[in-house]
């Protein structure tokens, strides 16, 4: 798995639970003391080991940790550049949802070897969307966190459900209850600061 994704897991754990927890996880995993490098690749098994070590240490389910990583990715201080990149996807939350199918392509524009999973969006009825995620098991849980934080960012009110997975991938259901529930956060094309 790409180092950037591993770095996200590492960043979330250190940021949220502190250096002690991260040191304990590092101790139980065969990894360089400096942790993950963003621009290198790691065996998927290493990522899984880190995640299960974190789940053990925290006494929490792997899926909820992944979901929290998703939220952290967008709403934390560290996540601000990513939040901006996602906001380039559209001017409204609906627009943003439709841009998700382009996400792997946008990822490839940034880093040809990033390897984001394929995403497919269906709208079975107005305001209800099914997002299917193929490849990279667990990514759908990260997406729930990302979508929750992005809905906040756009000021939209949404209901998110994980519908489980099968051999066709993992599916999320997104119900858009109000597109303009709050003011949302401003997005300036030219950048902030």
């Amino acid at each position: 798995m790409h180092g950037l994704m591993n770095r996200a897991i590492q960043g979330f754990l250190r940021d949220t639970y502190g250096e002690d927890l991260w040191a304990r996880i590092l101790g139980s995993v065969r990894l360089h003391p400096d942790g993950f490098e963003a621009m290198l690749h790691y065996d998927d098994a290493v990522t899984e080991t880190v995640l299960s070590a974190a789940a053990d240490q925290l006494g929490r389910a792997r899926d909820t940790i992944l979901e929290d990583i998703g939220t952290w990715l967008v709403s934390s201080r560290t996540g601000q550049p990513l939040r901006r990149l996602l906001r380039f996807g559209g001017v409204s939350f609906t627009d943003f949802l439709h841009s998700l199918e382009d996400l792997p392509g946008r990822g490839r524009l940034a880093l040809p070897d990033l390897g984001l999973p394929a995403l497919t969006l269906h709208e079975p009825q107005p305001g209800v969307y099914d997002l299917t995620c193929q490849g990279l098991p667990g990514f759908s849980h990260v997406l729930i966190g990302v979508l929750r934080a992005m809905a906040d960012d756009y000021g939209a009110l949404v209901l998110l459900d994980h519908c489980g997975g099968d051999h066709d991938g993992e599916t999320l259901r997104i119900q858009l209850l109000a597109a303009d529930f709050t003011e949302g956060r401003r997005f300036d094309l030219a950048g902030e600061g």
Partner: protein
Amino acid sequence: MADAAVEPVVSIGAGALGRGMPMHLCLDPSGLITSAGPTLAKIAPMPLVGLGFFTRFDLKRPIGIADIAGLRGSGQRLHLTLRGAADTGLRGLALALPDGGVLLNLSFGIDLPDAVRQHRLSDADFAPTDLAVELLYLIEVKTLVMAELHDLNRRLQGAKSVAEEQAQTDTLTGLRNRRAMDNRLAELIDAGAPFGLMHLDLDWFKQVNDTFGHAAGDHVLQHVARVLTGETRLHDIVARVGGDEFVIILPGLIDAARMHGIAHRIIDRLNEPIPFGDKVCSISASVGMAISSAYARPRPDRMLSDADQALYASKHAGRGRATVHSPDG
């Protein structure tokens, strides 16, 4: 022959034109601006409609177009700036209209990021088909990736310095370096093991460097390294501790006569001419020695300095010699 007039004519309302081409200008046959797209109107410091195109815009390239007929016939990419906003470069295409006027479609060229910042443009200011927003996305991504790579390079540089710091090998000759020599010396003394110490300095090495250049010098040093390794035992330590200075540690060897023997074999071999390309380099070596059993409590710095003194005596006595330090002399 086909005439431009028989081509199907597309007519489009001003609103739709503004949405599809938010940076367009319509000029009448006299060159007056009759309509301007909303984004162009937004970045213009003064109103555009009703004014002459050539009074509001400077056409940079192609040069020599000064009237509406020139614009109608231009057919290629135009580079222009808006007066009063000269730092925002624009590019465009002029299309001849059937009424004798011109439709100009403009865009930001490579100055897009500056223009977006300066005029606080948003997604809505660009046509939905425009890839301007994707370009901004890419610039932002590129900046982030560059920052990550920069960080990675900085960390690798740091790790490289540490690795060099911890290295035990002299890169040119493959011999041990001073750090390795210091470590081994301390180990032997800590263990109370007897050993002989040889400090060897090349004679005439500077002349080789000065006469034949540094490549010849490097070649000679590598030759010396082979000689020293060849004339010593596997568990002896041969270290290059300076430009043309070497230290040899000989564990278990405290017999002055045997040490002299080794030193002279080394000197004899180093006295042989060393071919370098079509040239021949000549050097020699002086050696100073110290033996651990001569000290009640040997200390590394003391032994090194005594060997150095003995080396100085060898040099003084005419080079190409070996001297054992005598504690009482």
